[in-house]
Every structure is written in structure tokens, then in C-alpha cells.
Symmetry: C2
Subunit: 199 residues, 2 copies
DNA sequence: CGAGTTCTTTGATGCTTGTTAAAAGAACTA
DNA sequence: TAGTTCTTTTAACAAGCATCAAAGAACTCG
């Protein structure tokens, strides 16, 4: 063996460059050239590390999902009681503003998932993971007597995730009628109804 | 004036061809050629009627929104009482199956809206229109005494639309954990809670 | 019927982009 | 320094969009 393998680093570098490109230019009409420019190398080099743009974007997606989930898990863990945790969970799922990089990425790359099974699988895991966090918070609150759940915790959790996705979708598409702030209020209202606790 | 103007017909023909192309091949990597092939003409002809693919897709979107909204309005109008109307409204908002053409179209073209203000405006109208229908149904039911609303009708309506969008998004991305049927049950459960009527 | 007018379609052209393969270059070892 | 492996670039090729001029089609009016 001679020259050391820096492929891992280079790939990470490219994934970061691709992420910036997607946020800046959007998926539609994203060129290989945009990514290679952002990474400061030739387009041929990008293809040395990834078979094509799709595969690179798949990695961008995987990384975004990872970051999103761990951020939420940590946000929840940081809070002491179930009520605060539920509030933290709701707040961490919505874009901070319509330009929230991570959320834009997640919704933008959804267009790939519809055609790419591997990317779709990543979305499924994302969904399950989020439902899981909500279920854990709801169950904990129910066990401690803080929540009086009006329904099965899984059903509530699924609706909470669906609400997030619905509002998040609108927010990143710049629908002005529902600001992230208002979306959070809406979801909190739902959660309040289903748990019997004012949020 | 000499040869009659068939531009309107030809545009409609192209919009239909584009719709089929989007559903079949997806937005990512959709080529002008795909559309022109589907329409049975050369790519140059497509550009005679539309400045570019984006503008054509914008029309596809506009038409899809139109069809979607009127279909729901009619589904609601066909029912006699508020309870049946609410049920019909919920059912008409979700994809019949993961291959529901209209729904795929609506979600797929969302990727354009994020970059194209005109398309985003169309989405805003779509959202407002759906909220409006739900509000009308809820208010009618409230006035007649059929519903005992737990919240402001607009807030309930917004959450219903957000739930639809969230679940619809998952369904068209082939998330198997939430089938259209199950999504409908979830949303009905929410509506039941907020109206006090079992659906 | 044919000349004129307007609408429609095509096909050639130039330009940009994705893809491939070969060669050059860089980093390290023995 | 020679050899090996990893990385990058470059040039060539194929495919796509955009433009435009020219051909073709449909109809009216003289």
C-alpha cells in the first residue's frame, strides 16, 4: 500500500458541497457542475467518488435525516419532564424560519424518494424514528400521570408527525398564511387536546 | 385572418402529455423530449407553445389544483348532512392508492413551487380553498347542532388540511406504515375528537 | 382555383451538460 | 529513486435544450 486513502474525507467534503448547492439552487436543474464548483474541483472528480448526482444526493439525504433525528432526540432529552419534552419535540420539528436549511433539504429531497427505493427507505426510518420519540414522550407522561391521553399513544404520535410534515411542507413552500410560529401553535393545540395538558 | 388558431387545443394536448410524463418518469430528470414524445410531436413544437419545460409544468400544476379542488367541492356537495360531508371531505383529500395520479402530481410539482413564485401562489390558493371548504362544513355542522366544536373552526380546518398533506406526502412516497386507508382512519379520529361526532 | 396570409411544425445549428477513459500528478513506502 | 496506489484533470464523445429560418398546412378572398 502506498498513498493513503482519503476517500472518506473527500466524500464528506462533496456531500457538504452538494448540500449547499441544493439549498441554494434547488433540485430542479441542479447541475453536476454546481456541486463541483461548490467543492472547488472538476466535475470529473465528483464522478470519481460517486457514480452520479443521484447517489451523491442520496448521501446528502441520509446525512440530513441523521442530523435532524439526533437533534430532536437531544432536544427532548435536554428537558426534564414530559410536558416540557413534548413542547420541545414540537418546536424542534418545524423550520425555524422558511429558510431553515435542514427542513428545506428534507422536503426538497423528497422528490428523489418517490423514484429511489433506497431514499424512500430512509424516509420510512425517519418517520418511524419520529413517531417513536413521540410515543416515548407520551407514554412517559401517561405513566407519570401528567398526561390523560384521549387515544392510543401511537395514533396521537402519528398525527403529530403528520401535522409537522404538513405544516413544514407549507412553510418551506413559503405559504404565508401559516408561519412556523403559527404552525407550532396549531400543533400544540392538538397536543393539548389529546393529552389534557395546556402547552 | 387565415388559418384558424388551434393554440388552445394544442396547449391542452401538451399539458395532458406533460402530466402523463411527470407521473410516469418523475420530475427529476424529466426531459423535454419525454413530453414531446408523449404528445407525438417534435421538441421544437413544444417550445412553440411554451417558453420552456417549467412554464408547461406550471400549467400542469394549475390544472391539477383545479381538478383536485372542484372534485372535493363536488364530493362534499353530493352529501346531505354535515357529518357525511365531513367524511366525504376527508376521504376525497387522500390518495386512493399510492399511485393516485392527481396526488402524485400535486406533491411532485411541489418541488417547483419552492423556486417559482407563481407556482407557490397556486399552492397558497389550493391551501386556502381547502381550509375554506372544511370551515364551511364545520360551521354548518356547528350551526345545526350536529358538531360540538372543541376549537375555532379555522384552527380545526387548518389542522385537517395539514394532516392530509402530511399523510398524503407519506403515502405517495410509499411509506408502507401508513396506508391511505389507515391515514383516513387517523384523520377521522382527529375530526371525531374535535367535533364530538363519531365518524 | 390560386395567391396571399397566418398558424404550425420541423430540422439544422450552436451551446451546455453528463459521461467515459486515458493520462498526468500526488503521496507515500521500501 | 523506483514503485505503488490514490486522486485529479483533461479531452473526447454523446445527449439535451434553445434558437431560428424554412417548409408545410389551413383557410380566405379575389
Amino acid at each position: 500500500m502506498a498513498r493513503p486513502n482519503r476517500a472518506h474525507e473527500r466524500r464528506a467534503h462533496l456531500i457538504a458541497a452538494a448540500r449547499r448547492s441544493v439549498v441554494e439552487r434547488g433540485l430542479l436543474g441542479l447541475r453536476l457542475r454546481d456541486v463541483s464548483d461548490a467543492a472547488g474541483m472538476s466535475s470529473g472528480s465528483v464522478l470519481y467518488y460517486f457514480p452520479g448526482l443521484t447517489e451523491l444526493l442520496r448521501e446528502v439525504h441520509r446525512e440530513a435525516v441523521q442530523r435532524f433525528c439526533t437533534a430532536r432526540e437531544e432536544a427532548v432529552r435536554a428537558e426534564p419532564d414530559p410536558v416540557a419534552r413534548l413542547r420541545a419535540m414540537i418546536d424542534s420539528g418545524l423550520p425555524d424560519d422558511p429558510r431553515d436549511e435542514l427542513c428545506i433539504l428534507l422536503y426538497e429531497l423528497g422528490a428523489i424518494a418517490r423514484r429511489d427505493p433506497e431514499c424512500a427507505a430512509e424516509y420510512i426510518r425517519l418517520y418511524e424514528r419520529q413517531v417513536g420519540i413521540y410515543v416515548a414522550v407520551l407514554e412517559a407522561g401517561s405513566a407519570s400521570g401528567a398526561f390523560a391521553l384521549r387515544q392510543d399513544s401511537t395514533m396521537i404520535a402519528r398525527n403529530l408527525v403528520a401535522l409537522e410534515d404538513g405544516y413544514g411542507l407549507h412553510a418551506t413552500m413559503a405559504v404565508p398564511t401559516v408561519s412556523p410560529d403559527e404552525a407550532a401553535r396549531q400543533i400544540r393545540a392538538y397536543a393539548s387536546t389529546m393529552t389534557g395538558v395546556h402547552l
